[in-house]
Structure formats: structure tokens, C-alpha cells
């Protein structure tokens, strides 16, 4: 589906420079191998008595990588809403690069159906008061419908955004014209649906794993994290492509990395703000039915260590490191923080999911590692057509103004 999108994109003269694909055949082979390893590990875990861990790793990775892909498209929508055109077409191609994973993520969602008895405690032990909401047909119907809407809206936005009319607008940063009318409708619709659908995903696929616990803010917290995970992935991609696309690419322009660094910084603060907002209310009320979720994760080993590591990777390190202008513009620093951010988001999703199901042991081993590698392979494979478009845009010379 992603390849399909790439072919539809009209190639203008400015794209001619980027005809060399970003990934070599060997690298693609490696990615395919990763996917096969992941599938094999998943199958092996299922048949070797590690089925619960296999499904937990599946759910964690599903949430992480679909969150990044979807958050990226929302980031593109945010660029339209704010009329941000600080890096021409490149910033839009970059944010949309991972959209190829969204259709695959939609398919992977249905895979959860087969692991439902191992993932959702309420399938085998229904809770009478919540049965009207927490039952298998309704959960898969509502979440499936939500993800279907998100997939269609995202693909529509990406396709229109890569079209000639939108590209002309993306390049005309000195004009104050509004984006093309169709995007003025899709971008806000997509952003609102993202908030609604990903809140639903957070409630259904994460919060319901611990069905006695609830937090109204949890949905915001979850999709705020997904949005940030997309921003750090975009920043890491920019840093990597900066070194690979030769001496003349948009990412050589320090203002572009500076702007990406600002986004990483700002939404890291937003994330900790949401963490604290939930924590303080639960701490203040001190009601056992609310506190157990946090006490279990923050006050007792082994989960305590992971909690602190997540806060370090997702807030403390980005905040302290990226406070100044110079670190934001330094590729090695921004890249390291962004990579740490992706690891942090993975651990955070892991921390949300797994302790609900595995109380006292941290199941981190070959099952989790290999399944994660499989997802990484699939994610990057799906992103390759989009990354080729990023490379084309970044080397097209449209941003000469900023090169100084």
C-alpha cells in the first residue's frame, strides 16, 4: 500500500536528484531477515510455552510502532494547522515517511484477536459491572472501526500532501496563503480523530489490562506519548539522512535541526506534564484502587528501575541536554537524544502493558528482543518508499535560502 502511494506521487523536476534509493539491496535483505526472525521467534515462543510473553511483546510493539507511524501523520497535519513551512516540502515528507506502516498496523491489530485470552484478563474472568464495555466483540468492533477511520484519513492526507497543489503551498513559505482547502478539512479531522481513537486504544488495549484501574487522563497521556515518539523518530531520521545525503541537503541547515530539536524538547515537557498531572491526583487522593497501578510500577523493584529509566530517557535527558541552541543543532547530540527517546517510548509502553500481566518478574529476553526486531524490520521496510521521498525533497535544493 505504501509502495502504491509512492508511485502515485507526481515526480517533478526537483525530484530528479533523489532517484537513488536510501536503502541498498543488502539493507533491504537485512530488514526482510529481521521480519522473518521476528515471525520465527513469535512462532517459537507460542509453541514453547512462552505464549503470554509473545503476545505481550506483540502488543507492546504494536502500540509503539503504530503510534510512531500514526503520530507522524498527525505531525504533518499539525504542520498544516500551524502553517509551519520551516523546511519546505522536506518536513512534510519526513513526518509522513512512516505512514506506510499504518495499513500494516491495522492488519496487525486483528492479530490481537487470536491472543485475546492471554492479553486481556477480562476475557476469561469477566467483570460483571464492566461487561457491557469490556467484551470481545464490542472491543474489536469499536477499536477496529476507529483504526479503520484513522488509516483511511491518514492515507488520504498523505496522498494529497504529496500532490502538486500541496507541494506548491509547502514551498511558498513567504506567502501567507492558507493550505489547499481539502487539507484544511482533513488535517483538523485527522487530529481530532487521533485524540479520540488513540484515547480509545489506550483505554481498551492498555488500561483494560488492569481492569480495576482507571484514569481519565490516560488517553491524553497515551496519545501525547505517541505524538512525541513520532517527533523523536523524525529527528533521528533527519540526523541519519543528514550524514547520508551528501553535502547539499536540507538537514545540513542548522535551523532545520534546531526546529526539530525544539519540537523534541517541547513535547517531552508536555509528556512529563501529563505524567505529573496523573500522578499528583492519584497521590493526593491516595485511594488504593487508584494507587496500586502506580505503586506497583514506581515504588517496587524490579519495575521501579524501568520507571526511572523511562523518565530519564523521555524527559530528563532531553530537557537538560536540549535546553540550549547549540545542542539542538548538533547532530550527534540530537540524534542520541532521539534514539534514547525511541528506546524510552518502547520501555514506557512495555511498562504500561507488562506489569499488569506479569507482577513480579520482568520478562525481558530473547522473546521480546527478537519480536521487537521483527517489528523494527517491518516498520523500516514500510517506511522505505516514504524515506526515498524525503531524500528526494531534502536534496532538491529548494532550501538554498537557509544555507549560509
Amino acid at each position: 500500500m505504501s509502495a502504491n502511494l509512492a508511485h502515485r506521487t507526481p515526480s517533478s523536476a526537483s525530484d530528479a536528484h533523489g532517484s537513488v534509493p536510501v536503502a541498498s539491496a543488502a539493507f533491504k535483505g537485512l530488514l526482510v531477515a529481521l521480519v522473518l526472525v521476528g515471525i520465527a521467534a513469535f512462532a517459537a515462543a507460542l509453541s514453547s510455552g512462552n505464549a503470554d510473553r509473545a503476545w505481550q511483546a506483540y502488543l507492546v510493539n504494536f502500540l509503539v510502532w503504530l503510534g510512531i507511524a500514526q503520530g507522524g501523520v498527525v505531525l504533518s497535519a499539525a504542520f498544516y494547522l500551524t502553517q509551519g513551512r520551516w523546511a519546505g516540502t522536506t518536513q512534510f515528507r519526513l513526518a509522513e515517511a512512516f505512514a506506510g506502516f499504518i495499513p500494516l498496523g491495522f492488519i496487525l491489530f486483528w492479530g490481537l484477536y487470536f491472543g485475546r485470552t492471554l492479553i486481556f484478563p477480562w476475557v476469561l474472568h469477566p467483570i460483571a459491572q464492566k461487561a457491557a464495555w469490556l467484551n470481545t466483540p464490542f472491543l474489536f468492533a469499536r477499536d477496529g472501526a476507529g483504526l479503520a477511520i484513522m488509516t483511511l484519513l491518514s492515507l488520504a492526507l498523505v496522498r494529497i500532501s504529496r500532490g502538486p497543489e500541496a507541494r506548491a503551498w509547502q514551498l511558498s513559505s513567504s506567502d501567507i496563503d492558507l493550505p489547499p482547502p481539502i487539507l484544511r478539512k482533513i488535517a483538523p479531522a485527522l487530529s481530532i480523530c487521533f485524540a479520540v481513537v488513540y484515547s480509545l486504544i489506550a483505554f481498551d488495549l492498555v488500561m483494560s489490562l488492569s481492569p480495576a484501574w482507571h484514569s481519565t487522563l490516560f488517553g491524553w497521556y497515551f496519545f501525547g506519548g505517541a505524538f512525541w515518539s513520532a517527533i523523536v523518530t523524525v529527528a533521528l531520521t533527519a540526523v541519519i539522512l543528514r550524514g547520508r545525503l551528501g553535502d547539499h541537503n536540507v538537514f545540513r541547515n542548522p535551523t532545520v535541526l534546531h526546529d526539530l530539536g525544539k519540537l523534541v524538547f517541547a513535547f517531552s515537557v508536555f509528556w512529563i506534564y501529563l505524567v505529573f498531572s496523573q500522578y499528583i491526583v492519584i497521590w493526593y487522593g491516595d485511594i488504593p484502587v487508584e494507587t496500586f497501578f502506580i505503586v506497583h510500577r514506581v515504588y517496587y523493584m524490579p519495575w521501579k528501575a524501568i520507571s526511572y529509566l523511562v523518565v530519564f530517557l523521555m524527559w530528563l535527558a532531553p530537557f537538560v541536554t536540549l535546553l540550549g541552541v547549540r545542542p539542538k543543532q548538533t547532530p550527534a547530540i540530537l540524534g542520541t537524544i532521539a534514539f534514547g527517546g525511541i528506546v524510552g517510548v518502547w520501555l514506557e509502553r512495555y511498562l504500561l502493558v507488562v506489569p499488569s500481566l506479569s507482577q513480579h518478574v520482568v520478562p525481558l529476553g530473547w522473546v521480546e528482543l527478537l519480536i521487537t526486531m521483527g517489528f523494527v524490520g517491518a516498520f523500516v521496510l514500510c517506511a522505505l518508499p516514504g524515506l526515498d521521498l524525503v531524500a528526494a525533497a531534502a536534496t532538491s535544493g529548494e532550501m538554498q535560502e537557509g544555507h549560509e
Binding site: 505529573f276 500522578y279 499528583i280 497521590w283 493526593y284 491516595d286 535560502e401
Partner: protein, 181 residues
């Protein structure tokens, strides 16, 4: 003052204005003063402006705010020992909010006050070469130079895209509003 002339160039566009300033600095014009209708990092960079000293005052204000908040929250807790739900008397998580808010308040007030001092605002004299359109939609570059260099300065301003270049002598200074065109 005698022996030097002032030349005023007005620009419609920020980038051209910044390029013009950079060129002028290369040929060592004696003094360059810039009027900008918007805050512009590009122009600040072009005139080689040092980093603002306001920043140090904001940092100090922010730290003072945090200290004040700690004193206020911990002090009042000790002053009125209230056991709430078995929590310690000094229960710090909610203090973070007070610390944050007072940091913002003190930092913000320090920023405003130190800005006023450093920018010498309010100013009761209008700077030479000012025109009210430099507060609307035009950038103004005022160059003071030797009369012998004036032709070169004028051509640099024009090459950088100045809409008009005038000698300050011809500039009506009474109210700054009558524009030579």
C-alpha cells in the same frame, strides 16, 4: 558629527535587510543602526548582537522563585502541622506546582523589568533616522559613514534590495512621519 553623514535605507524584506547589513559590516561602515518592525533573529545575527543579558536575570529570578516557593510551602507546613491522610507533614509532590508557578512568576517579572532597564525603555528621544513605517512593515538601516564612502554605502544598500536610500540630511526628523519618496 561633522565629517560624517547618515544614510537611511529602507527594506521591505527581512532577508535582504540582513544581507545588506552583513555587507556593510564587511566594508567597515562606522555605525549601523537598524529599525525592525518585528523581532528578527536573522537581523540580530547580521548586526552581530551579543547575547542578551536579560537571560541571566530571568535565570536568577526563576531560581529565586523556586527558593521562595520552597520556603513558603515547607515553612507553612511546619508552622501548621496538619496530618493529612497519614502523609508526612512536608509532602513535597504538590509543592512542585507551587515551585513551578513561582519560578514562572519571578522569572517573568525579572524578564520584564530587566528588559525595560536594558532596552532603556521608556525612551523619550526618537532615534535618528527613525520613521513610523519602521514600526509598520519596513526595515530601516541607518548607516553613519565618511562622506567619501557614502556612494559605496548607498550602492551596497541598493544592491541588497533597499526600496529607497536617502541621506539623513534630507530626512524629515520633526515627527519622523513625512516620508521622502
Amino acid at each position: 558629527m561633522s565629517g560624517s553623514v547618515e544614510i537611511v535605507g529602507s527594506f521591505a524584506d527581512e532577508i535582504g535587510c540582513a544581507h545588506g547589513i552583513e555587507k556593510l559590516r564587511e566594508v567597515k561602515a562606522i555605525g549601523v543602526r537598524v529599525f525592525s518592525p518585528i523581532p528578527s533573529h536573522r537581523i540580530e545575527h547580521a548586526i552581530g548582537k551579543p547575547k542578551s543579558r536579560v537571560r541571566a536575570f530571568v535565570l536568577t529570578g526563576g531560581i529565586l522563585g523556586i527558593i521562595t516557593a520552597l520556603a513558603l510551602t515547607i515553612g507553612t507546613s511546619w508552622e501548621w502541622n496538619l496530618d493529612a491522610g497519614g502523609k508526612p507533614v512536608v509532602s513535597w509532590p504538590p509543592f512542585i506546582i507551587i515551585m513551578f508557578e513561582l519560578m514562572v512568576l519571578f522569572g517573568g517579572i525579572s524578564a520584564v523589568l530587566s528588559f525595560l532597564v536594558h532596552a532603556r525603555v521608556p525612551a523619550f528621544e526618537i532615534a535618528e533616522g527613525y520613521s513610523s513605517r519602521f514600526s509598520e512593515d519596513r526595515f530601516g538601516v541607518v548607516v553613519r559613514c565618511e562622506p567619501a564612502d557614502s556612494a559605496q554605502v548607498e550602492s551596497i544598500l541598493r544592491d541588497a534590495g533597499a526600496e529607497e536610500v536617502v541621506r539623513a540630511a534630507a530626512w524629515p526628523r520633526a515627527d519622523g512621519n513625512a516620508v521622502v519618496s
